[in-house]
Amino acid sequence: MTPLAMKMLFRRGGTAGSALSVALIVAILTSMNAGVNYINLQAQELGTLVNIGETYIIISQNSTSVSDSRIDVSLANQLTRSIDRYVEYSLPQKILSATIITKSGNRTLYVRGVEDPENFFKLGRAYVNGSIAKGEAEANVGEIVARILAIDLGDEVRLTVNNNAVKFKVVGIFKTLTQLDGEIIVSMKATMQLTKDNNKLSLIEFAIKDKVDGEEAINIITELLPRDLKVVKAQQLRDFIQNMNQQTLTFMSLWSVTIYAVAAVASYIIATRLIAESRDEMTMIRALGAKKRMLFTLVLIYTTATALLGSILGIALGTVGTQTASTILRWIWPSVNITPFLEAEQALQTILLTLASSTLGCLYPALRSARTRYMEQPL
């Protein structure tokens, strides 16, 4: 009897209108999704305009800053040897926050200890005025630091970390156009003297060789690391774009909740309308021996089927609508070039969520219809 009853309900005049009401709601969501997809794609395309560097750093797993990171010197040496075939260079460094005392005053700044300052400056394409520090008592000062503290070549500066003070002679002032210009570069041994700790480094900086598959190399390097260390990429363009897109998607999620709530109420209305306008049919079905459960099933199937039809139609309407709107916009303003699109999984997700909200929306009217005593109604 169910197919016959369904046929009877679907042939009612209001079915097309009900499907359309769901379709229009789904069309709103589809067009917004298509527009957001275009915006996200634009963000990704903008990302391709930026040169991507291949610099990585190894720091301790739990550190949120490089100066707090701790890596054992012996482990660092072992790691440097292990990753050698994948990397262009690897530079173990010790970074610490120190107080600098000069003739013009004191201030706190970052001091970076490196094994081989010459190689470090060469890799950093630094322009050095003067010479590169060779001993433990020599230092190279970044141009910005030199300007802030009025430091000249040949000046003596004192660096202090936790009451340990070491004197340095400024042998070179360098310019890299990077954060190094705001630091002092000394030998690794000098930083060990300042911290009285010969066993710990802050980080290992490295760059992947050109001919090596970067992703594969990073996976291998990550596997080589002990649990308390991690590899972090210096330039994080991909993360930035993903984060930006995620922010848009979070907004869309909140907004979609309202849309699905509207879809649920639309289904409530469809089910209520079906019951209100099909009293005669319902009474006939009951008279023919249908159980209460069957009436419940009929209302449920009718509403979800209408919602399914509506959501498919809505996706089509939304996609065509946005395409048409963007074409019209292009005609009116040729500089505006918007090409919205919808992905297959988004369409599927929309259909499934619309069905779920429709089922929720029609539950109460369906239950009420099952409880109604149609037999008492005059035919």
């Binding site: 209108g17 009401s21 229009l24 709601i25 915006i39 634009q42 903008l46 305009l49 930026v50 991507i52 291949e54 750093i57 949120t64 800053s65 490089v66 707090d68 926050s97 201030r107 700044l109 970052y110 910005i144 630091v145 300007r147 802030i148 310019k175 156009l177 990077t178 954060q179 210009d181 705001g182 972090v232 990429k233 210096a234 330039q235 994080q236 363009l237 993360d239 930035f240 984060n243 922010q247 848009t248 979070t250 907004f251 909140l254 907004w255 309202t258 849309i259 709530a261 509207v262 109420v265 639309a266 409530y268 209305i269 469809i270 209520t272 309308r273 209100a276 916009l329 505006v336 918007i338």
Partner: protein, 392 residues
């Protein structure tokens, strides 16, 4: 025949209509508030009012990716009518796996344009090479405290750097979602040399100077560079930042009102205030099919009561007028409830920083015009549906 005293509408039967009106109004209000909030926030990002003018790179695709010669700050700043000038290097970055914006500034100049009140710590100085000050919202988002160290990854260059929090400020503007660093730190993270910045902002006296006269001056500078200043006390920027004068093409440089420029970026994608309002109204209209259906159900469910009143002499016209008088207040109250619900939802999301656009909190303001629009739309829809209905 007067029908006002006949209370034939059953409240339970109006439930569907109330529900759909509440939700449709909520949907409209959320859409219009968030879209217009984003639009307002974006267009006011670099300053509001006609007196804030920018020198920017005309060829850049976003406000964050161009560069202009920094020495124009001094050149244009010396013009009669230019009150304040602020060169800025805006750097998109990632910290703690989240996107943030750092703005390299000359603190003294910047603070003449943007009033900052310090909530904790101190204000930034140009010599703070290892420090930054963070906006209130940013500090809340990352749970940052004074003295915390923050590892920043650049997006535009292959750089990372550690910065210490020197202060937390409040500006009641988009700046509250950003961090401020000395200009040269911004330049490192943007990847430009010390002679270039992302943009230069000016506060001008509109009576004495206009964007076009500034542009003329910039054009003159591009064709015949003025001699570099010789002797005298150098301003802080020259003492700390080793910039050199660079030649530039006038085709690359634009001068525009800040808000106008940001609007023009949005215009490139067809996004205008009017377009966003139209989209919101369209969304409401698309959900109106369900409102019409709900109204028809109310009428169908009251067929018996309407029939009785018709049989005792009420004309169709009188009936429709009475139904309209009885249902319109319900509809308007439902719509107002929807607006309230949307406002509450948006306030909660705003307070908890759930919603960010370009890493900035969207400030939601439901304006009177939007509220009036939704109430008028609801009134029209309900009236048309009832008046066009075929009462039996």
């Amino acid at each position: 025949m007067k029908l006002m005293s006949f209370k034939y509408f059953k409240r339970q039967r109006i439930l569907a209509l109330v529900l759909i009106l509440v939700l449709a109004s909520t949907l409209f209000s959320i859409t219009v508030s968030s879209l217009l909030g984003f639009y307002r926030g974006f267009t006011a990002y670099l300053g509001e009012g006609e007196d804030i003018v920018l020198i920017y790179n005309r060829k850049s695709r976003t406000p964050f990716t161009g560069s202009v010669p920094v020495y124009l700050t001094e050149r244009i700043g010396a013009m009669n009518g230019v009150l304040v000038s602020s060169p800025e290097a805006i750097a998109p970055c990632v910290a703690d796996d989240e996107a943030i914006f750092l703005r390299g500034i000359i603190p003294g100049d910047f603070m003449k344009l943007n009033q900052l009140s310090v909530l904790d710590g101190e204000l930034l100085e140009l010599s703070d090479a290892d420090c930054m000050i963070v906006g209130r919202n940013l500090a809340e988002r990352f749970k940052l405290k004074l003295g915390d160290k923050f590892l920043i990854h650049s997006v535009l260059t292959d750089q990372y750097m550690e910065l210490r929090i020197k202060g937390i400020y409040e500006s009641h503007s988009a700046m509250d979602d950003e961090a401020l660093v000395p200009l040269y730190v911004g330049q490192w993270l943007v990847g430009v040399d010390y002679s270039h910045v992302t943009l230069i902002r000016f506060k001008i006296d509109r009576g004495a100077v206009s964007p076009s006269t500034i542009f003329e001056e910039v054009a003159k500078e591009a064709s015949e560079p003025s001699p570099a200043r010789d002797g005298g006390e150098k301003p802080p920027i020259d003492r700390i930042i080793p910039g050199v004068r660079t030649s530039f093409s006038i085709e690359d440089v634009g001068v525009e009102e800040a808000q106008g420029l940001m609007k023009s970026y949005m215009d490139r994608y067809g996004v205008t205030r009017e377009a966003l309002l139209v989209v919101s109204v369209l969304i409401f209209l698309l959900s109106s099919a369900s409102i019409t259906a709900a109204l028809k159900i109310v009428l169908t469910q009251h067929t018996g009561e309407i029939g009785v009143l018709r049989s005792i002499g009420a004309s169709k016209r009188t009936m429709k007028r009475d139904i309209l008088i009885k249902l319109l207040p319900w509809s308007l109250v439902s719509s107002a409830m929807g607006i309230l619900m949307a406002t509450a939802t948006l306030m909660i999301t705003q307070e908890n920083s759930y919603l960010l656009v370009l890493s900035h909190r969207v400030s939601f303001n439901l304006d009177l015009f939007s509220m009036a629009t939704i109430l008028i739309l609801v009134s029209l829809l309900v009236s048309i549906t009832i008046l066009r209905s075929d009462l039996k």
